[in-house]
Amino acid sequence: MIKQPNVIFGNSEVLVSMGRKGELFGFFYPRRDHAQHVEESLACIHTGEKLLWTNSNEWNATQSYIEDTNIVSTKLYHASGIRISIIDMVHPEVPVLIRRFKLQAQNGVSGKFYYYSNFNVGETSKKNSGFCDSEARLIAQYWQDYYLGLYTLPEFTEWQVGKAMDTIWWTNSKYDMEDGKLQKNKEDIGNINNAAGWELEIKPGKAEEFIIFLGAAPTRPLLYKRLRELSKQSLDYLFEKTREFWIVWLSKKKVLKLPGLDAYGSLRQELFNSYNRALLNLYLLNDHKYGSFVAAPEFDSNFEKCGGYGFCWNRDSSELVLALKHSGYPEYCEKFFKWCIGAQMADGSWFQRYWLDGSTAPSWGNFEYSTQIDETGSTLYAMDVYYRILEGLKKVDFLEEVWISVLRGAEYLMKRSKSGLHESCMDLWETYYGTFTYTNAAVYAGLMGAAHLAEENKESGLAKRWRKRANLVKQATLERFWLKEGYFAKGIINDRLDKTLDASSIGTYIPFGMLSPKDPLERDMILFTIENIQKKLSSPVNDYYGIRRYENDQYINGNPWIVTTLWLSEALFALALELPYEGGLDPHAKTRKRFTEQGIKFLKWALAGTTSAGLLPEQVDKSTGKPAWAIPLGWSCSLLLDNILLLDKLCRKTNGEKPES
């Protein structure tokens, strides 16, 4: 069943996704895309009469992060007066999840405390093997060289390892918990689950504490060592160590000031918080070995309602690394572009999506007509943006490293855009085949970026050739797709011009810069596009409007998206920044203010659509205003960073500060 997390946390090897009642949805180790070892893992109380599962509707929950960290605090309240306070964190250096449960009961409780898990080690329910080492007081489960283990403080006094889904149902640990007594079966194989149990005696006004260490390792001895060593350290020490790790990591960020937002109440603080959260999220979506990113932690691995999100798309990741670079983390660019070089296809293109190690992922883009040309354009464009920011020797080294890749990518774009418009392929939304405004803008940006890199590499012939084609693509897109109604057509689908308005047409300006606000005619085109997107694609919810992808969008109910909405606000902020500041009675002040205010409204709308812990989804439910799909989406995070950084620049400029170099 598809479950969307409320929080994620982890370290460089582990990514955990969790529901708002502290139930684990995913435990990814050692990569963000593979393997997901946990089907269920949560606490439960046996009151002496019945089981109170902590994820049931009987509990009210609040959940938040400890400020500026990836440590989660969950508080559960039961009508009977039982209160559970959970702290969750992953040790910064070893792949061990540490869960502290503190239980209190207004009227006292006498029963059992259980910790139940259904592990699918190696991302399979088949051929797993599980055991309880009652001497080491450790429950472990393994498949090939993935070992998952559970160690507890205090030591559990009873346990069960049983068949999770079999005809011998009475060995099932979940069932076994029903009578408040576990059978203590020591080992089993197949599709198995486990439970650890303790006597629970809480007097009114007193508290009981249980700590669960859920660790991973490639071998059994290493698993034992890791869990034993960690359990020797005090929880306070582990907490402080983890907290310090995140605070130090976050301290490298570009500092925001955001002056002059007093009129917006708590907005300034909200932006600080969400900026930090987006950064912390991106750390968790990044593969620290390869440099690639998952679009979002996988939540639909069976592809029941979509094609899954636990893979790397060049389109998304190119934007992520640039946003991280602008936020003060350049190292992500370097690693990602290295990964790109290795992942590039033989024809010079980049594939629809990849596993994080660079191998091709399950795809519906295996042919020339079904690939996504914009991914190649986006990658080349991002390489050039990064190059422009670099200085000195780093510039030289980077160009040397990526040049062959740029050459191959640019020639691929040349091959696929001979007529001026790109050849038929799949659109960025993975819905239509054809020729699209967004993709053409990406081809333009990719070729322009490549041309700049060629110039820098003293390849003026290539630079000229690529720039000429880029201009032809721009000319063809404007001539063929710009409509007298004041917006770009979606593209050509089934050999016919499709006049559907698609929010991605703002890509002609943000991010690809095919249209320049410096040119009066093009500036008008940008403004008309923004106006029409607002007019035709707005979806009212959460006290303002989010932007849908395109007219008659059917994907997951046609909700408004964070990405499309933040494109619009980013365009508005960028336009405001383009306006020259003139002293005295600044003739642009009114327009700048209007753009800024409009942009802020969209930005606030995006913040209103996060989970209770501040995670940005892909979509916001058009009826309830709640986060709807793919949580957190890296692409949404990167656009939020871009928006906040632009707004910061705008606020500083308006406040009279000199722009940074």
Binding site: S125, K126, K163, M165, D166, T167, I168, W169, W170, T171, N172, Y175, Q183, D188, N191
Partner: protein, 269 residues
């Protein structure tokens, strides 16, 4: 046992299917008088349902009837309302001639129930078998929950023990149309067998190599486990779908120390 409940009544251009819900004081002779009235007015009753459980004073009689199209329904209803033994009357036309429960929704042992074709459920079960790993375990565990809940419900409304429990579950199975049970079980050792005639799963399944009523085994296991207060295993050893005359489920206590892999192959501890 099969009745054509909740179905199309057949298509007849000249008639309409009309439902009446008639409330009447629960006094001797009233219901008979109403029946006579309907018969005299040419109301052909296809199915009727008397409900005397809601209040002590008032009965409710719901009927589906076939009536000639030319009949003035409003006039008939007015006459009926004016008729002494009738307190209230509601009526309506079933446009596509389906017969249904006039009181929507309905309950079975305490929770909302629906009527489904056995084939629909068998198709769901087949889909599990075709696609889900551990389908048999999954079905047993799904049934288990229902069986436990049924026993809990019975416990909440009447005295139930191992002696009357078999008859109770047999009555329930018959009432909901799942099958006719013949249960022989020793209360002490909790060993025995259940013969299921007309199992709703096996009946519509078609041919199968293996027994297909795992859901039913699970339901019975849950029921007896809850009543007995100890873990009871129920396994289907023969099945009508697999060519046997009837479906047979074996009841036994779940062994506490046995090689699991042996148990999975049906061996006793």
């Amino acid at each position: 046992m099969v009745q054509d409940l909740c179905m199309f009544s057949g298509w007849d251009e000249d008639t309409e299917i009309v439902w009446f819900k008639i409330s009447y004081p629960r006094e001797k002779g009233n219901l008979a008088a109403i029946l006579n009235f309907l018969e005299e007015h040419g109301v052909d009753i296809k199915i009727g349902h008397i409900d005397n459980t809601e209040t002590e004073a008032e009965g409710k009689y719901s009927i589906f009837s076939k009536i000639k199209k030319e009949m003035d329904l409003e006039k008939l209803a007015q006459e009926m309302k004016a008729f002494g033994p009738v307190k209230e009357i509601e009526y309506g036309i079933s446009k596509y001639k389906m017969i249904y429960a006039v009181d929507f929704t309905m309950n079975v042992i305490g929770v909302r129930a629906i009527i489904a074709r056995a084939k629909t459920l068998a198709d769901v079960i087949k889909t599990f078998y075709d696609n889900a790993p551990h389908a048999e375990g999954l079905l047993i565990q799904s049934g288990l929950k229902g069986g436990i809940e049924a026993a809990k419900y019975f416990k909440s409304i009447m005295a139930i023990d191992l002696k009357n429990a078999p008859d109770m579950i047999a009555e329930l199975y018959r009432a909901v149309g799942w099958g006719l049970l013949d249960i022989k079980c020793d209360c002490e050792s909790m060993t025995g067998r259940v013969i299921v005639k007309d199992s709703f799963i096996a009946d519509v399944w078609g041919e199968a190599d293996q027994p297909v009523c795992a859901f039913m085994s699970g339901y019975l296991a849950g029921y007896f486990t809850e009543v007995a207060g100890r873990t009871i295993q129920v396994r289907e050893v023969s099945c009508k779908a697999a060519g046997h005359e009837v479906c047979e489920h074996i009841i036994s206590p779940a062994p506490d120390s046995a090689k699991l892999e042996h148990l999975m192959r049906g061996e006793r501890a």
